[in-house]
């Protein structure tokens, strides 16, 4: 009797905990970040405290261009781009009463982010940089070499997020671990490991732009089918879903909201194509060292089918991996010549293969295609199978190699990833970063293609501070990559999120972060 009563009570208590949802809460289901921590510098860059934490520079929600919606009200640089001075917004303040944002906070955050435990993406942009507080609201960065793209280090996918020095002095890193004070429109409420993050709106935010949503919950869900289930059962108001699951949500009455700009580029890389003389990591038996093979593979790929199969038809064909109209060196002419150089043409592919003597003249004719899982790109395994279908069709010998993304990372770090493997450029990075990552030895060890022409151009490009000259050099690098079939570019696409139109009226975000979504203060609830 007594026992059943206790059981009944505890049942009620247990069940009761699940119905605490208020109308003003918006829940977003998304992939878990690779590292769950409040310390940005301990992540590889996929940070989920975006609603609460800010960098110096913000982005326009529509164009994605840098603007002063971050902590800096304005900035300037000297002629050779080695000195950058930022002026902070007056009245910008930290959450939880940690006071105004000052130049000292910027200096402190820079020290944290460039420490020896920093695993942060792009942190090279901030290394060996002297940061000096000129006064309360002015801070100067002195760089060892010119950086025209220095603002990238401070924007949406930047490498510097401003933490409170006052909180650090009072509580140390533990203070950040339990409740980090940020400056964004939302403030931190809780982090539940493996589950997600909860934020609440800051009333009367210093920027004057209060968020419309009272409470924001980011829910981390690794299994895409589970994420879809949370959306369809209306547990989540929004969900980041693989493209192939989106029709299921659309059929059930949900709507897709896309980033206002392309947020992601995908490609297959001919890794190991190191064409600079005397590279000891060059494997001379790699079949794609022959440009005719690289062209043949590109010709064998039906990119419209790729976009249909992998991206539910909502993407555009990418002319050069790493090139984008928003960044330096965009060449309209390359985009126009794409069909001529890269258009789907199995016969031409077969002719090129015959001309190259494939397979009889190749010591190692097998094309190893990597199938891997990368959070945020669930289409990669299907992409591998699709590539195999295309290559088999024109007569290539192929095999699928499976490795997890960290395993590929190990090979790339050793410059031994001799694979035809998928890669993404998300968010689409400035041209100098992209060129370093994919085409030039300056980005070693993680480079997949190098040749003497690009090396020479890139040396000039890295040293140049003349915008016009840089535009020209970047364009020539992209042209060389294009003409050499350095990679197999596939698609350019926006970041999309599925929303429940009953609870979310709209949202505008530019697609400038690693997760694609940002500007949570602009979510419009119904």
């Amino acid at each position: 009797m007594k026992l059943t009563r206790i059981a009944g009570v505890s049942l009620a208590v247990l069940l009761g905990t699940t119905v605490l949802t208020s109308a003003q809460t918006i829940t977003v289901a998304m992939s878990p970040p690779s590292v769950e921590t409040n310390r940005y510098w301990n992540t590889p860059g996929d940070f989920n405290l975006g609603p609460a934490m800010q960098g110096l520079v913000g982005h326009d929600p529509v164009t994605g261009m840098y603007d002063n919606s971050g902590l800096a009200e304005s900035w300037s640089h000297n002629d050779d781009f080695t000195e950058w001075t930022f002026t902070l917004h007056e009245g910008a303040e930290f959450h939880f009463g940690y006071g105004p944002v000052t130049a000292a906070d910027v200096v402190h955050s820079h020290t944290l982010h460039t420490g020896e435990d920093s695993t942060l993406i792009g942190v090279a942009q901030l290394k060996d940089v002297a940061v000096e507080a000129l006064d309360e609201r002015t801070v100067k960065f002195t760089l060892p070499r010119p950086q025209i793209d220095f603002l990238f280090a401070h924007g949406g996918r930047g490498s510097l997020v401003i933490y409170s020095k006052a909180q650090y002095d009072a509580e140390g890193l533990e203070g950040y671990d339990t409740r980090p004070a940020g400056t964004g429109e939302f403030q931190f409420v809780a982090r539940n490991i493996g589950q997600g993050l909860t934020f609440e709106r800051v009333e009367n935010h210093w920027s004057g732009r209060d968020a419309e949503v009272e409470r924001l919950v980011l829910r981390f869900i690794g299994e895409p089918a589970t994420a879809l289930a949370t959306l369809l059962s209306r547990e989540a108001d929004m969900a980041v879903l693989p493209r192939e699951l989106q029709p299921d949500a659309i059929n059930a009455g949900f709507e897709a909201i896309g980033s206002s700009n392309a947020a992601n580029q995908t490609a297959m890389l001919f890794n190991g194509t190191f064409l600079t003389e005397g590279d000891d990591k060059l494997d001379p038996t790699l079949p794609w060292l022959d440009i005719r093979i690289r062209e043949a593979i590109n010709r064998a790929i039906d990119r419209e089918a790729v976009i249909d199969v992998l991206y539910d038809g909502r993407a555009s064909i990418l002319p050069v991996f790493g090139m984008d109209p928003r960044h330096e060196g965009y060449r309209e002419d390359l985009a126009e010549m794409f069909e001529e150089y890269y258009g789907y043409d199995p016969e031409r592919a077969m002719a090129l293969m015959a001309e190259a003597g494939y397979p009889q003249d190749f010591e190692n004719p097998v094309i190893p295609i990597l199938s891997s899982n990368l959070a945020g790109n669930p289409e990669f395994p299907t992409m591998a199978e699709l590539m195999q279908v295309f290559l088999d069709e024109v007569g290539f010998q192929t095999e699928i190699v499976e490795l997890d993304w960290a395993g590929l990372g190990a090979l790339r770090r050793a410059r031994e990833a001799r694979l035809f493997h998928p890669m993404r450029n998300m968010p689409v990075k400035p041209s100098a970063v992209g060129i370093g990552n994919y085409y030039a030895s300056s980005g070693r060890p993680n480079v997949n293609y190098e040749d003497p022409v690009i090396e020479e151009l890139n040396t000039l490009y890295a040293a140049s501070t003349d915008p016009q000259e840089r535009e020209e050099l970047a364009g020539r690098i992209f042209q060389q990559a294009f003409e050499q079939y350095a990679v197999a570019p596939l698609a350019s696409l926006s970041a999309e999120i599925m929303v429940n139109p009953e609870t979310v009226a709209g949202w505008t975000f530019p697609g400038v972060t690693s997760a694609g979504i940002s500007h949570f203060n602009l979510i419009e609830p119904q």
Partner: protein, 306 residues
């Protein structure tokens, strides 16, 4: 008895030592934490710096001995992925979630399997036996992740009876626990059935029947009581399958327990956490079996000599 106890404990400790060696070498062979921790554009300087910071530049046997020494003191190192916490803390924090789910699953499987097994034995070789066997076997005949997803779609999305996933109260636990329990039901039903068959055949049961004791009383009071001991031995095995089962189910239902932790840690090459979680379950398993051994020895003295 004391020698027996001493010997068994010594064996368990030696096994544990070998396990630490296997776990340590496997996790270190499986790659470098840097591969998962560092971004795609890491520079050589950054790689070198983080390597040194994590102490990965020391010889591997030095790392092993350090690990062993620290582990003996209960220190398993700092988590690489969950910065700011030790590996032991990370595992300890996830443990209640796994135990809750595993406990409920165990409860469900007992409640279902015992009656099913008894029924199958009493109605041996009838249609009822066949039905009971097939129901029990179903859980073992489907991949757990698929069963989990199907349950989720039917009961959470279509019917809306339960939440789809995530950590929470009893309502969150039902679907994953059922998916987990179903797998165990098969083995438990079979054990109960064969134990019951054996007991129902025993002399004292026949005697009870001859004496005119009612059949229901014979089955439940006399036979079941004696047969119930056999399935209990199964719990030793269960300790081992707890983690294995939870890896899949916790991933599907986004349940932040140790199974979820283990897979996340391996993908992130977080050695300290991987080692801690595997060692924890190895100790649990060895301990459970040590206790079973000792219990057996207490019941049946002959075992001590073998």
């Amino acid at each position: 008895m004391l020698t027996f106890l001493f010997k068994r404990t010594l064996y368990a400790l030696i096994s544990l030592l070998v396990i630490t060696l296997i776990v340590f070498s496997l996790s270190h062979l499986s790659g470098n934490p840097l591969d998962a921790l560092l971004p795609d554009d890491a520079t050589p300087q950054q790689i070198e710096q983080v390597t040194r910071h994590l102490g990965l530049d020391r010889p591997i046997w030095v790392q092993y001995l350090t690990f062993l020494q620290n582990a003996a003191m209960g220190d398993f190192g700092d988590s690489l992925k969950w910065k700011g916490q030790t590996a032991a803390e990370v595992v300890w924090e996830r443990l209640p979630a796994t135990l809750q789910l595993g406990g409920l699953a165990l409860l469900i499987s007992i409640v279902v399997a015992l009656p099913l097994g008894v029924m199958a034995a009493v109605y041996k070789n009838t249609a009822l036996d066949a039905v009971a066997t097939v129901i029990a076997l179903l859980g073992q005949s489907l991949p757990a992740f698929w069963l989990g997803l199907v349950l989720m779609w039917i009961f959470a999305v279509m019917l809306g009876w339960f939440p789809t996933s995530g950590y929470g109260g009893l309502s969150h636990m039902i679907l994953p626990a059922v998916a987990m329990a179903w797998f165990q039901v098969a083995a438990l039903t079979r054990l109960t059935r064969s134990a019951m068959l054996e007991v129902l055949d025993a002399e004292y049961i026949k005697l009870a029947r001859v004496k005119g004791v009612r059949e229901r009383r014979v089955v439940w009071k006399h036979a079941f009581r004696n047969a119930a001991i056999v399935p209990v031995t199964y719990f030793g095995v269960l300790a081992g399958s707890l983690l294995t089962g939870s890896v899949v189910i916790e991933t599907v239902f986004n349940w932040p327990g140790t199974g979820w932790l283990a897979i996340t840690a391996i993908q992130g090459r977080d050695f300290p956490v991987v080692q801690t979680v595997v060692l924890f379950f190895a100790v649990l398993f060895l301990l459970a079996n040590l206790i079973v051994d000792i219990l057996y020895a207490l019941i049946d003295p002959r075992i001590r000599n073998t």
